[in-house]
C-alpha cells in the first residue's frame, strides 16, 4: 500500500486563504475607485479563440497574453461587470460559510440581489469570467456542476467537508459506485492498494468492471466518467495520478468523440484553457481504437456527417499531431465507422474484461 503524504490538505487551506485574499483585494481596489468617483473596471485574460494556444511543454491549451478590460463605464459592459462583482461577493460568502452551490443555484440566487441573468448559460459564462479573473477553478469557490460521475475501488479517503471532517471511507464498500461530488472532490486521499486507475466512458462498463472484479484482478480504481468527464472528475484523476502516483488508463467508445474524451483527460479542453491542474499528461488512451474495430471484428455503425466533420477539425488540432492520436484519427477517417464499448458483449459479457482489457493494458506499455 502506498501512503499519501497528505500535502493536499495543507495546500487546500492555503488555497482557501489565498482565494479570500484575492477577493478582498478585488473589493478594496473597486471600493477605492468608486469612492474617488472613478468607474471601476476589471481586467482578465481573453478567452477568445484567437487567444487560446497550445502549450507544448504543459501539453495542454493555455490562454495567451491578450487581455480583456471590462469597464463599468461602458454601457455595454456594466451589466456583465455588475454580475461579475456580485458573483465575487457570492463566492466570498459560499467559501466563508463552507457551503456549496450548483451552477443552477447561482443562476437563481442572483435574483435575490436584483441581478438578472437572462438564462443559465449567461450565468455560467460569468462564472468562467471570474475563474479567469482570479485564475481559480469554480470548484474553489464551491460551485459545482450537476453532472455526476462515479468511482469504485480500494481507496481510503478522509472528508474535509463540514460535519464529516476527519471521517474516513473506503471506496470499495459500495459496488454500485460512489458519486464524485463536492465532498469527495474536497476529500484527502489517504491510502490505496491500487496500482492503476481505469477510467471508462460509461456506467454500463463501470458496473461490468465492478462485477467482474477488475478492481481486484488488475488492482485498479475504476472511474465512470459518464461521457465527457466533468471537471471535478478530471481533478480527481489528476490527484490520483499526482498524489498517489497511479498511472491512468482510459477506455472510451470507439469513435472520434471517445478519442476526444480521452484527449481532454490527457491535455485539457480549450474551454478550460484558463485553468491548470485538470490534465493528466501521462494518462493513456487504450481503446476502443479505430483499429480495434477491424481487429476484433466489432459490430459497428457508420459515422454520421457531423462525426466525420469532427475528425477533420481534430486533425488540425496540435494535440492530435502525433502518436496513437493521429494514427487512430486516420483509421476512423478511413473506416467511417464506430463501435461502442458494449459491442464486445457480442463475444460474451466478460470478453472485454477477460480478453480485451489485458491485451490493451499490455499494449499500453509501448505507448
Amino acid at each position: 500500500m502506498k501512503n499519501n503524504k497528505r500535502h493536499s490538505k495543507i495546500s487546500a487551506s492555503v488555497r482557501k486563504e489565498e482565494l479570500l485574499k484575492a477577493l478582498q483585494e478585488m473589493g478594496d481596489s473597486m471600493y477605492e475607485k468608486l469612492d474617488k468617483g472613478v468607474f471601476p473596471e476589471v481586467v482578465f485574460p481573453s478567452r477568445s479563440v484567437r487567444n487560446i494556444v497550445y502549450d507544448e511543454k504543459l501539453l495542454q491549451y493555455v490562454l495567451g497574453d491578450s487581455r480583456v478590460k471590462r469597464s463599468s463605464q461602458n454601457i455595454k459592459h456594466i451589466r456583465p461587470f455588475t454580475q461579475l462583482v456580485w458573483l465575487a461577493f457570492f463566492a466570498n460568502q459560499l467559501v466563508r460559510q463552507g457551503k456549496t452551490s450548483t451552477l443552477r443555484d447561482v443562476y437563481y440566487s442572483a435574483q435575490a440581489y436584483n441581478i438578472d441573468f437572462k438564462d443559465q448559460p449567461e450565468s455560467d459564462d460569468i462564472i468562467t469570467d471570474l475563474e479567469a479573473t482570479l485564475c481559480r477553478a469554480r470548484e474553489d469557490f464551491s460551485i459545482y456542476p450537476e453532472e455526476r460521475s462515479a468511482i469504485f475501488g480500494d481507496l481510503t479517503i478522509e472528508y474535509t467537508v463540514k460535519g464529516y471532517e476527519g471521517r474516513k471511507l473506503n471506496l470499495d464498500s459500495h459496488p454500485d459506485g460512489y458519486l464524485i461530488g463536492p465532498s469527495l472532490s474536497s476529500a484527502e486521499l489517504v491510502e490505496t492498494s491500487a496500482e492503476m486507475v481505469i477510467a471508462v466512458e460509461k456506467g454500463g462498463l463501470f458496473s461490468r468492471f465492478v462485477e467482474e472484479k477488475v478492481h481486484e484482478k488488475y488492482k485498479a480504481i475504476i472511474i465512470d466518467t459518464a461521457g465527457q468527464p466533468p471537471r471535478s472528475t478530471r481533478y480527481m484523476l489528476k490527484r490520483l495520478n499526482r498524489e498517489l502516483s497511479l498511472p491512468v488508463y482510459i477506455l472510451t467508445d470507439g469513435d472520434v468523440y471517445g478519442e476526444h474524451i480521452a484527449m481532454v483527460i490527457v491535455s485539457g479542453s480549450a474551454n478550460a484553457a484558463h485553468l491548470r491542474d485538470l490534465t493528466v499528461p501521462t494518462a493513456k488512451w487504450i481503446g476502443v481504437w479505430g483499429s480495434d474495430i477491424t481487429k476484433y471484428k466489432l459490430p459497428s455503425d457508420p459515422m454520421n456527417e457531423q462525426a466525420i466533420k469532427r475528425i477533420y477539425e481534430l486533425r488540425k488540432d496540435p494535440r492530435y499531431r502525433k502518436g496513437i492520436w493521429q494514427k487512430e484519427l486516420e483509421v476512423f477517417l478511413k473506416l467511417k465507422r464506430k463501435s461502442e464499448l458494449e459491442a464486445f458483449a457480442k463475444y460474451g459479457l466478460t470478453a472485454i474484461v477477460d480478453k480485451y482489457l489485458p491485451e490493451k493494458l499490455e499494449y499500453a506499455k509501448s505507448l
Binding site: L23, Q24, M26, G27, D28, M30, Y31, E32, L34, D35, G37, F39, P40, E41, S46, R47, S48, V49, I52, V68, K69, R70, S71, S72, Q73, N74, I75, K76, H77, I78, R79, P80, F81, T82, Q83, V85, W86, A88, F89, N92, A112, Y113, N114, I115, D116, K118, P121, E122, D125, I126, T128, D129, A270, N271
Partner: protein, 589 residues
Amino acid sequence: MSKKQVSFSEISPSEFFYRNRDLAGFSNPSRSLYSAMRELVENSLDACEMAGILPDIFIRITPLDSDESKQDPKPYVLRVQDNGPGIDPKNLSYAFGRVFYGSKFKLRQARGMFGMGGTMSILYGQITTNRPVKLMSAIGDGKAVQIQMMIDIRKNAPIVMDKQVVPAEGISGTSVEVTMEGDYFRAASKIQEYLRQTAVITPYANLVFIDALGRQFFYERVTKEMPVPPDETLPHPYGIDVEALRRLLQDSEEATLLKFMQQNFHRVGENTARRFLEFSGFNANMNPKSMETLQAVSLVEALHKYDNFLKPDASCLSPIGKDILKKGIEKELKPEFIAISVRPPSAYSGFPFIVEVGIAYGGKVLPQGLSLLRFANRIPLLYDEGSDISFKILDQDIDWRHYKVRTEAPLGVITHVCSTKVPYKTVGKEYLADRPEIERELKNALRDALRQLQTYLSRQGSMAAVQRKIGIYSKYLPLIAQFVTDLSGAKNLPKYQQLLDSDSDGEDKTAEPIDPVGKPPSDEPPAVKAPAAKKKTTKPKAKTTAATKKKKDAPPVETIKVEEKKKAQVEKKEVKQDEKQQTTFEDFG
C-alpha cells in the same frame, strides 16, 4: 356552321378575342367583372391625365334584376363615368366597337397598352347578355352625344342602334354603361383592393364606387398636384428592329440619311447622326428610300452596336413624383415614416423607364410583416405577386438585417415602374418580366429607400440610448457599490453617486469589446425592455412629412430630457416592486 369540308377561313380580331377571351382576362364571371371595371377605370384615368384634368371617377355596379335573392353569377350593370375631355363623336363608336382601334398605339406611357380593354368589356357584355352598351361623351362644346351600340364581331365593327345629341349641361367626359354577366360576390374583394391601391398611386383623383350591395366607397383627393402628362416620343435607336426601320424608310420624306436619322429617332441630333453614320459606314447623303433590304439589316445591327447614342429622356414618361407618391401613401397607409426614392430615367431595349419606390413603416393600417404594392404605369398589379420581379428582389436580394428591419416590422413597399412599354408577361397585366435593367433600378431604389428607413430607425434608437444610459447607471452602480463594500469589508458605501451626476458622454469607448469563448454575455441590458414596452406612448410620431421635418430641426436634447425623467420614474418603480417581493417572502418565513 353546318357540316362542311376542311378548308381555310379568316376570322376578325374581335372574333379571335371573342373565341379566346380568357387571354384578355375575361375567363369567368368574377374575373370578367373585375377586368371590365379596371379596363374602363384605366381608360378614364388615362383620358383625364392626358388632358391635365384632375380626375373624378364614378364607378357603379348594380344588379340588373332588382330581385336580390338571385344568386351569382347574374347580370350586372357596370357604369364608369369620368370628367375627362370626352371622345370626339366621330371616333366614339369605333373606339369602343373595334378591336385594334384606339389611342394607345403610341410610344408614350399610358395605362392601356393593348388598346382593347374597353372593347373587350363591351364584347363580353354583349355575348353574355346581348344588350347594347350605352355610351355618353361630352367634349366640352356644350353638347353630349349618347349612343347605344353593339359590336358586329365578325366584321370587327360597331353597330350603332341609337344616337342622340343632348345639351351637356356643363358636363364633360365619357361614360360607359355595360350590362354583363358577373359574380360580384367573388369579385368584391379584388375590386375594392384595386381601388384602394389606385387611390395610393393617384391621390389627386376622386374615386367614388357604389357597389352591388349599395355601399359607397369614397377615395378622396388629397392633392391637386398631378404628374406632368407624357409627350409622345420617337423610337430610340436601341429599340428598333428591321421591320420598324423598313417602315420608317418607306414613310420617310427626308432627302438624306443624315436628316432621316435626326427626324425619326429619339435624341438623335445632327452631331450624333453624323458620328453614327461614320461609325456604321453609311453615306450620310444617301436617299433613305433607296436603301436595300440587306443594307437595312446591317443598319439595324449598327444601331444596336453603337455605344454613343444618348439615353432616352423621360419626356414621354409620367412618373408620379416624390410628393404625390408620398401623399398617396400617407392617405391610404397612414404610416409612422415614409421614404421615397425616385430613380433617374433609364432604358431597356430602347424603351425608357423610371422606377419609383416608397417605403412605409409603422402606423396602424399596415399589418405586421411585409406588404408589397406593385404598380406599373400607375396600374395596381394584384395577381401573381410571387412571379413578379419586385417580389423576387425583396425576397432574395435584400439583406434585411443590414437595414436593421425586423421581419415582423409593419412595412409597406410600394414599387412603381413606368415605361413606354411595360414588359408584362401576360395580356392580363399581372406581373413584370425580369429585365436586368429594371431589376437593377428597382434594387437601387429599394436600397436607397431602406437606407432612409435605417437612418430613421437608428435615430429613434440613439435617442432611446441616451435615456437608457442614465437608467442603466442608476440601476447598476448602487449594486456594484453594495457588493464591493461587502467584499472589502468597509462599513459605509463608497461615494459612487458622483458618477451618476457626471457627464454621461464621457463614456470610455476605448474599452475592448467583450469577446469570451462561446456565447458572449448579452450586450443588451434587460432594462431596455421596460422603455421598449412604453415605446408606443413616448416615441415621437412622424405621421406627416411636415412633422418629420420639424423634428429634425428642433434640438434633440429638449426632447430627451423629458424622456429621461419619465424613464427614471419607471426605474424607481421597478426597483421598489422587487424589494417588495423579497419582503413578502421574509414575512412568510
